[in-house]
């Protein structure tokens, strides 16, 4: 028999939930706070929590020293570009694996996932040389391609799981009704899987936005996204915590806002499965 959730238990769980939430959010909160301090206050011990001289000088300096908007635009292009391109490839791939599986489908899926187990640095040199020889180094196109490839297994896996929730009968009905394969995907599959596709897109935008390894190694100035912009503040001259924090805050702000507004969609997508 299921036990009723008592008020007391509810309170305990709520408290634990809040505690975990605060713990996870604390580094971000601290970064934001530090970005409003002077450099000396940033490294002061004991650290001051809220009572310090709030200042915007770090933001002003960060903006004069580097072009935030350019990096932000690069990040947007790379994150959205690689995610959309990934979807374009992954939707047909996931369709075929979900609705027309062969004996090898499971193995192919496992193989794709296994590529995520390889440390990226293992293929850095070949990819770097490939990029140098094809002129893709420090270009947005290059980074879009590489991030799309890096995240493709995840995109296909997520879509595959969502598509499998869609009854095959409905697609067969569309076929009987005269829909070609492309129309079947556009008119039936895609709209039915919208929550799944949207959450896959969002998750991949976030992953691509936060990606640092490839952005740092394959870009220099022109195509550098915000992750490279933050890294440029941990310089050989020493760490400037307050400026680094200001740069970080500027870099994470857009994705934080996107995540905040889309959290319902994200959660709904991740618990997808109620189409029947």
């Amino acid at each position: 028999m299921a036990r009723a959730v008592t008020t007391q238990r509810k309170l305990v769980f709520t408290a634990i939930g809040w505690l975990i939430g605060i713990l996870l959010f604390f580094p971000i909160f601290w970064t934001i706070l530090t970005s409003f301090k002077t450099e000396s206050e940033a490294i002061a011990t004991p650290p001051s929590l809220l009572f310090f001289d709030w200042t915007l000088e770090n933001y002003i300096e960060v903006n004069t020293r580097s072009d935030y908007l350019k990096h932000a635009l690069n990040s947007v292009i790379i994150a959205f570009g690689s995610s959309l391109l990934g979807l374009l490839i992954a939707i047909p791939a996931a369709w075929s694996m979900a609705f027309s599986p062969s004996r090898h489908t499971k193995n192919v899926l496992m193989w794709m996932l296994s590529t995520k187990m390889l440390p990226p640095v293992g293929v850095l040199v070949p990819i770097y040389l490939l990029f140098r020889n094809t002129g893709l180094l420090d270009t947005l196109v290059g980074l879009v391609i590489v991030l799309m490839l890096i995240n493709l297994p995840i995109i296909i896996w997520m879509l595959y799981t969502y598509f499998r929730e869609i009854p095959g009968d409905i697609l067969e009905a569309a076929r009987m009704d005269g829909a070609s394969l492309s129309r079947e995907i556009v008119y039936i599959l895609a709209p039915m899987a919208t929550p799944g596709i949207a959450s896959t897109l969002l998750l991949n935008i976030i992953l691509a936005w936060n990606e640092a390894f490839w952005s740092l190694n394959l870009t220099a100035a022109d195509a550098a996204p915000l992750t490279a912009f933050i890294a440029s503040y941990s310089s050989p001259e020493g760490l400037f915590w307050a400026k680094l924090s200001a740069a970080s805050t500027l870099a994470i702000a857009p994705i934080l806002v996107l995540g905040w507004f889309s959290q319902k969609q994200l959660v709904r997508g991740l618990t997808f499965g109620a189409v029947k």
Binding site: D169, I170, E172, A173, M176, P191
Partner: protein, 332 residues
Amino acid sequence: MGQIILENVSKSFGDAEIIPGVDLEVGDGEFVVFVGPSGCGKSTLLRLIAGLEDISGGRILIDGQDGTRLPPARRGLSMVFQSYALYPHMTVYRNIAFPLRMAKVDREEIDRKVRDAARILNLTDYLDRRPGQLSGGQRQRVAIGRAIVRQPKAFLFDEPLSNLDAALRVNMRLEISELHHSLATTMIYVTHDQIEAMTMADKIVVLNRGRIEQVGSPLELYRHPRNLFVAGFIGSPRMNLVTGAEAERRQAVTIGIRPEHVQLSTESGAWSGTVGVAEHLGSDTLLHVEVPGIGQVTARADGEFPVRHGDKVFLTPESERIHRFDENGEAL
């Protein structure tokens, strides 16, 4: 127009042969029911006709033309699925309009046809709703609407009523039969329910393990089952099958007698037995009688027949209604 001919159609999945080779002719305008127990291949056969599965051998002719390799959309057939298979993100209107949109029919024509179909199927008030907001019967009607709207050569029904409750099933059965009369289009209907088969069909195809056991009108199958399988499958309650001395006396290995062809008496008769269970249905009473030397015999009596559990009754099979079968189960 809607003649479908199967020529030695077979289907295997890997090494498993599901349908070993079927020949069948479905005439234009006929209502043909495929009936058989689960796993007999009836749905597979329907899906082969629809084009949703590739056939392993043989040919399918639709209106005289070879449709074997045609994709489902180009066979000119409509299908109604067991699960309804409505598009959940579209309104009833858009569900019904979908095949017409795919056929690039112009907007006014679509509107006229959708409203016509909705009127026939009593769906006019629900056109703006989504499938999720409809009852099971309404959903089934939308599925039928989607099938009739593009005037196919034939309708294929894959156990369309099995998700409905009993009362609704009877209603929908009538509605589909009426639809067949008014449209006069070929219909192929798959069911495991032999009552549906008997009440709706012009022609019943009894399938067993991928093979056709018998094809015929409902009454033909009822009166002259070709073998034991058909005899046991068609008719409700099932035909009583008796082996042993009683059969040998009639020069057969097995004899069959339907419950409605057993005369009942409380005074005298050919066999005597004890009533195990008496099912009073109101109009009829079904008696399950234990007859020594023969086994359990089911008999149908009128609703007023005054017996209870444990009573002694006499049974007399109507001799001209007895079916005789040989050692292979074939009718003699």
